[in-house]
Symmetry: C2
Subunit: 220 residues, 2 copies
């Protein structure tokens, strides 16, 4: 789940590689769902132009900018605010998984950052992302908060984890939740087990939709 | 894919049933992805508190309000604007599928509406949803646009269709895209076939995450 890892410095030595930086922005919160389920933390992800879930960020140009300056530039485009990102926010660098969707022809290195901000800033980001951000409605189809709670046995985090993610975004989310102690290992494991069940149910639903459109295509 | 259908009037005769109304808001657009792929239409969905994708709306109280007034009330809470919905916007009513997640104990009837609005109003909705809407960050985790285009052979609509949806939301989306001629039947069928492939790849990724947290749980 963490193959092809390298240091930030090693990554920069590859002049023929494409380099992309993404960041997980999160905050604490005291708000409660339906006035009783503690939400505890807010984690931001986004619906991308390709229809997949991922973290804000994008391609950077190491010949023209530092990785962190490039990431800030991407954040300005995607969330409407040029949040400062520093080397201290860097978590890991690795090659993009070959088995998962990629839109780059050269070898792609993914740099991942995590930055804790205030809840008020999360709200400002969401508002700017939906109004002033230049990528809104284009490269970004919307910002979403990740539910870290479990509601009525299996809703919440587990259903969210059953969606489709770009590259290694799901594993970056899972490992960050553990590293930052935002979700306990046993709770996360249980959520993933339920996510697989939800995922299997979803396959049947998708198959039914496929059969339906097959008939519609014939009648067209 | 369309079992348990009934008329709006028949639905209202069931006094012991819970009633929920949802609406697909959409507009035309001239904007292009990366300046070359026509986006054509904007369709709004949302990330729900339970981690699933669905249409805006919620439970209504037929003893106190019309279905449409209840839906407008829900829209004010969820998207920050009380968009007027009329009987003419009604598309279909049916029992909620028993096989998919439900949070209601009584039998649930789902009413579905479709309303075309101006692109400018879509932008106002997204802005209000992320700022003034009372449900923001609680019952609603974010609004997202549905990509109806296909980018680089299989990204876009197909990846989006591979996510996890509440109740019959995915089939409502698929049938609405056909009924309103927003996507051609053969294109939609192809997107669903690619969605199933993406869904299968996602299962392996989820399984890897489960194995990873199993090890972390032991080391905890």
């Amino acid at each position: 789940m963490a193959s092809g890892k390298m240091s930030r410095a090693e990554a920069l030595e590859c002049s023929g590689c494409s380099q992309a930086c993404h960041v997980m922005l999160y905050s604490d919160t005291k708000s409660q769902l339906f006035g009783k389920t503690p939400i505890k933390h807010i984690v931001l992800m986004q619906m991308r132009f390709d229809g997949l879930l991922g973290f804000p960020g994008g391609m950077v140009k190491p010949s023209e900018e530092t990785l962190e300056a490039g990431l800030s530039r991407e954040l300005l485009e995607e969330i409407g605010i040029a949040l400062p990102i520093s080397v201290e926010d860097h978590v890991e660098s690795c090659f993009a998984p070959a088995s998962l969707p990629s839109f780059s022809s050269s070898r792609l290195i993914l740099h991942f950052y995590v930055k804790k901000i205030e809840e008020e800033l999360i709200r400002e980001v969401e508002k700017a992302a939906a109004s002033t951000a230049s990528d809104h409605g284009l490269e970004v189809l919307g910002m979403v908060r990740v539910p870290l709670y479990t509601y009525r046995r299996e809703a919440g985090l587990s259903y969210f984890l059953s969606h489709s993610f770009i590259g290694n975004a799901r594993s970056q989310l899972v490992r960050s939740l553990l590293r930052l102690h935002l979700v306990a290992p046993d709770k996360l494991h249980e959520a993933l087990a339920h996510a697989l069940q939800m995922h299997a149910r979803s396959a049947k639903d998708l198959q039914a939709a496929l059969t339906y459109t097959e008939a519609q295509k014939r009648d067209f």
